[in-house]
């Protein structure tokens, strides 16, 4: 098909356009694809902007297809380029600078814009919508400079924006025209519960308020309402709705109502021009949610590729609020009217609410508040307009004598139904990877298809599909356990170990019902760690449950040789030690000697059977370069030699390293100690970073320079060396006790919250002392592993030496 490919142009680089492209790529290679996007970014997940604002995700995290993806598929991407018009006479699209590109087919996927209330003052500085990364950035910036914000609009987007701004430290008032929040998705009951919960989280509300004017000079200073009251603010987010972006369609003379009018195959009034997503109007409806765009995209992809497909007949939409700690869900019809039969249950103590609406005994809508575990199930039942039965009622409303097995309707779900609305993954795709690629857990399916990757709301359905396809061979691995062998989470397991006094990994797995009796490479090392953390004095370390590097006390290389790294406390060595390292390296013919990123020496390429001899001849402690433990304390020259140094960083680094070495931790752990705020030892990328100043030390935690870079947060300042050591010990022990195995402090700090950690280890002196006592106790039981291996001759030969069998049988 050289040079004969059809030219397909996508106008709009958002979720709708690109998901359609993804579907098309699965079906054919006959198109030469060009994408135009106004924003300067690759395709990203717009529905996760709330998380970016809230701070739980970064912009990078929400990119769906990076630039490599476009390259890999030979797609030409023009970012920062707006298409203004389609010239159907010449079969060209025209961009804002007048450039023309030829097309055979076009998909318009320009999405929608924020609707800005046309009140006086709406164009003042400090007034934004909430639609894209640019808006998000403006909000993040504003939060740094200003204190008081208003969000106009108490719908989904407005509430998410408000929560984000509160999280950023602003005082936020949500201004809403109606008396009920999210009145287009919730009934008054759920709405009231939602408002109460959000007030608890610090959001203020002004209900029934009609904005008449935005006050101020260049920049907004307040809002005047119809009743003449005024709210003083310095920042306003408009989240009153969206408006389909139909500019290009209008310019091109296409039929446009509210949105670009399309038929059941997404065909517009212009030949060879299609439209998908929020910019379209189908059977009189413009959708403002994500699920319909995938459904539309899939039908359009098939249609455009000449594959037979059922027509698009509209979507049943459901809503989920993406605010942590507030679970709200609604789907289908949710306001009761006389023709509905209403099943509802409200629990003011548990703060939960569940309502299901029936029409002619068929399920047509539902609202959930507080507990939304049934959301996926309900969404499906309502989509299929399932008839209510005794059994269903029992399983949904939890009454009757129990023991009802949840009915699985995934069996009847059509193959092309979208299970994961965020990433547009169908049931068919999921079934396919289970049957053809042998996947057996939700995590594997997530890695392979992207389902559950974003909001996670579809996880129950993915689990049900897994269960349905695998039948008896399904193990509970699909649930959120620490690995595929158990459905139990980390905290549950640790609690059970403490409570039942479990001693070995084998006991844990037997007692807690592991599906694979001896566990796997994920859980065995984790359980071994938890056991040792809980009982440092009695736990017998299980070599066979350690990853090879920790078992051999050296780092394995891909050729089966090992790297040996001796300790160099604080990165300081002596000429005598250097000479010995050189002699041993020569004698054992190591392949390379390398200075590591942590100021030590790697002896690379030692044969397994030589390991113990190398250790014995080095006669130095192990540097633990392989361990989930304290690795290295990086230091600068400090006050001993540096003209700027105010603190003796080399001595403090060595002291810390000697104090805390060898102790098992959830993951590897690195320190840096600096003698002055010039920070030459780079404290900002270490688990604990210490910066000396004139009167003491400042402690930073949670930095990481590795796979996911993160700058450390300032935890506190201390005056004395003793306080510094005590805080370091308390932080490490708290991390030991609460960290998930393999969780770096960068993730731990984000999960636990800096404030919380500060309240435990800094503010609470008693707790700090107790933590310090527990770490001292654990430190009493550590042992130098190289010396230990050298002493244990029998074990040494079994562990480190092979067996040579004579050639004669």
């Amino acid at each position: 098909m050289n040079g004969k490919k059809e030219k397909l142009v996508i106008i709009g680089n958002g979720m709708a356009g690109i998901s359609t492209v993804e579907q098309i790529l699965k079906l054919t290679t006959r198109f030469d694809i060009t994408v135009f996007g106004t924003e300067p970014y690759p395709n990203y997940n717009r529905i996760m902007l709330s998380y970016v604002l809230e701070g739980s995700k970064t912009l990078d995290d929400i990119v769906l297809n990076d630039l490599h993806w476009y390259q890999d598929y030979g797609i030409t991407l023009h970012t920062g380029t707006t298409v203004t018009r389609i010239d159907s006479d010449t079969h060209e699209v025209v961009t804002e600078d007048g450039t023309r590109f030829p097309y055979d087919k076009i998909i318009i996927a320009t999405g929608s814009n924020s609707f800005i209330l046309p009140v006086p003052g709406h164009d003042k500085e400090g007034v934004v919508g909430f639609r894209d990364i640019a808006d998000c950035n403006v909000m993040l910036e504003a939060a740094k400079q200003y204190k008081r914000a208003a969000v106009i609009g108490g719908g989904l987007l407005g509430l998410e924006a408000a929560k984000g701004l509160v999280q950023l430290g602003m005082e936020v008032t949500v201004v809403h025209l109606m008396q009920d929040l999210m009145e287009r998705q919730l009934d008054p009951q759920a709405s009231a519960m939602l408002k109460a919960e959000l007030e608890r989280q610090g959001i203020r509300f002004k209900m029934g308020a009609q904005t008449s004017e935005l006050l101020g000079g260049e920049r907004v200073e307040g809002i005047r309402f119809a009743d003449d009251t005024v709210l003083n603010v310095d920042f306003v987010v408009m989240a009153v709705g969206i408006k389909p972006n139909t500019a290009v369609a209008r310019e091109s003379g296409m039929e446009v109502n509210r949105g670009i009018v399309v038929d059941d195959y997404m065909q517009t009034s212009l030949e060879n021009v299609y439209s998908v997503g929020e910019c379209t109007e189908h059977r009189g409806v413009c959708y403002g949610l994500v699920a319909p765009l995938f459904e539309q995209g899939m039908i359009l992809a098939k249609h455009i590729c000449g594959v037979e497909t059922a027509p698009y007949e509209g979507s049943v939409v459901s809503t989920k609020l993406k605010i942590s700690g507030v679970d709200v869900f609604s789907t289908g019809e949710f306001i009761d009217s006389p023709e509905h039969t209403v099943i509802s249950h409200k629990d003011d103590w548990k703060r939960t609410y569940k309502k299901i609406l029936l029409r002619d005994n068929k399920m047509v809508g539902a609202v959930l508040f507080g507990d939304i575990t049934d959301s996926a199930e309900l969404q499906k039942l309502i989509k299929q307009q399932t008839e209510m039965t005794e059994e269903l009622y029992g399983s949904l409303m939890g009454t009757g004598c129990g023991g009802h097995k949840k009915t699985t309707s995934v069996e009847t779900m059509p193959e092309d139904e979208i299970v994961c609305g965020c990433n547009g993954v169908t049931k068919g795709t999921i079934v396919d990877v289970i049957t053809n690629q042998g996947l057996t857990t939700v995590d594997e399916i997530k890695a392979c298809t992207g389902a559950t990757r974003s909001c996670g709301g579809c996880k129950p359905v993915v689990e049900q599909i897994l269960q349905y396809v695998l039948g008896d061979s399904f193990s509970s691995g699909a649930k959120q356990g620490i690995c595929g062998c158990t459905s139990m989470g980390r905290d549950e397991i640790v609690a059970e170990i403490r409570e039942k006094g479990l001693q070995t990994t084998k006991e844990v797995m037997n007692v807690l019902g592991w599906s694979q009796p001896e566990g796997c490479s994920k859980c065995r090392p984790a359980i071994n760690y938890y056991l040792g953390m809980i009982a440092p004095d009695t736990h017998e370390d299980e070599k066979e449950s350690r990853f090879v590097n920790e078992r051999m006390n050296a780092n394995i290389q891909k050729d089966g040789t090992y790297t040996v790294v001796p300790r160099m406390y604080g990165g300081v060595t002596t000429p005598a030690d250097l000479k010995r390292i050189a002699d041993v390296s020569v004698k054992y013919d190591v392949k390379a000697v390398k200075v590591t990123g942590g100021q030590r020496l790697d002896l690379i390429g030692v044969k397994k059977e030589d390991l113990t001899k190398v250790w014995a001849e080095l006669d130095m402690p192990s540097g633990y370069a392989y361990a989930k433990s304290l690795r290295t304390v990086k230091t600068c020259v400090g006050s001993q030699f540096c003209r700027f140094g105010t603190q003796d960083s080399m001595a403090m680094g060595a002291r810390i390293e000697r104090k805390f070495e060898r102790l098992d931790l959830p993951a590897k752990f690195k320190y840096a100690v600096n003698g002055c705020p010039r920070n030459c030892a780079e404290a900002c990328t270490k688990d604990i970073g210490i910066v000396g100043n004139d009167g003491g030390w400042e402690i930073f935690i949670g930095g990481n320079g590795g796979i996911k870079a993160r700058l450390a947060d300032s935890l506190c300042k201390v005056k004395t060396d003793e306080e510094l050591i005590e805080l370091c010990g308390a932080i490490m022990q708290y991390y030991r006790e609460t960290g998930n195995y393999l969780e770096r402090t960068s993730e731990w700090v984000e999960r636990m919250g800096l404030e919380h950690i500060r309240s435990v280890v800094v503010d609470n002196l008693e707790e700090r002392k107790a933590l310090m006592q527990r770490i001292e106790f654990a430190l009493e039981h550590v042992e130098e592993p190289w010396q230990k291996a050298i002493r244990n001759e029998e074990g040494q030969s079994k562990m480190f030496h092979g067996i040579e069998v004579s050639a004669r049988p």
Partner: protein, 108 residues
Amino acid sequence: MTTKQSGTYFPAGVVEEFLPRIGRVVEIKDQQLAVFRASDGTIFAADNHNPHPKGGPLAEGIVSGHYLYDPLYDWKIDLTTGLVQAPDNGQVQMYPVKVENGQVWIEI
């Protein structure tokens, strides 16, 4: 690849020379084998060559029941057949093992 080949049994030491669930390399006729003693006492002998395209050893993996998690790439390998478990695939050459009076014999 299967284990079906009639060769000769070589004595590879006594059972106690193999720590439970910790592999050990045995060299027979220039052939490197990774020998594992499962917790139920069963002994397995595999070619000590990782089926992953990047290669490497197997002997240092984590043993769980009759499965091995390889030490470099964490592939799960069935020690009874040598088959790599999904989602990865491949196969390791396994060798027949018999134990008589505490003596381990491997057939090459």
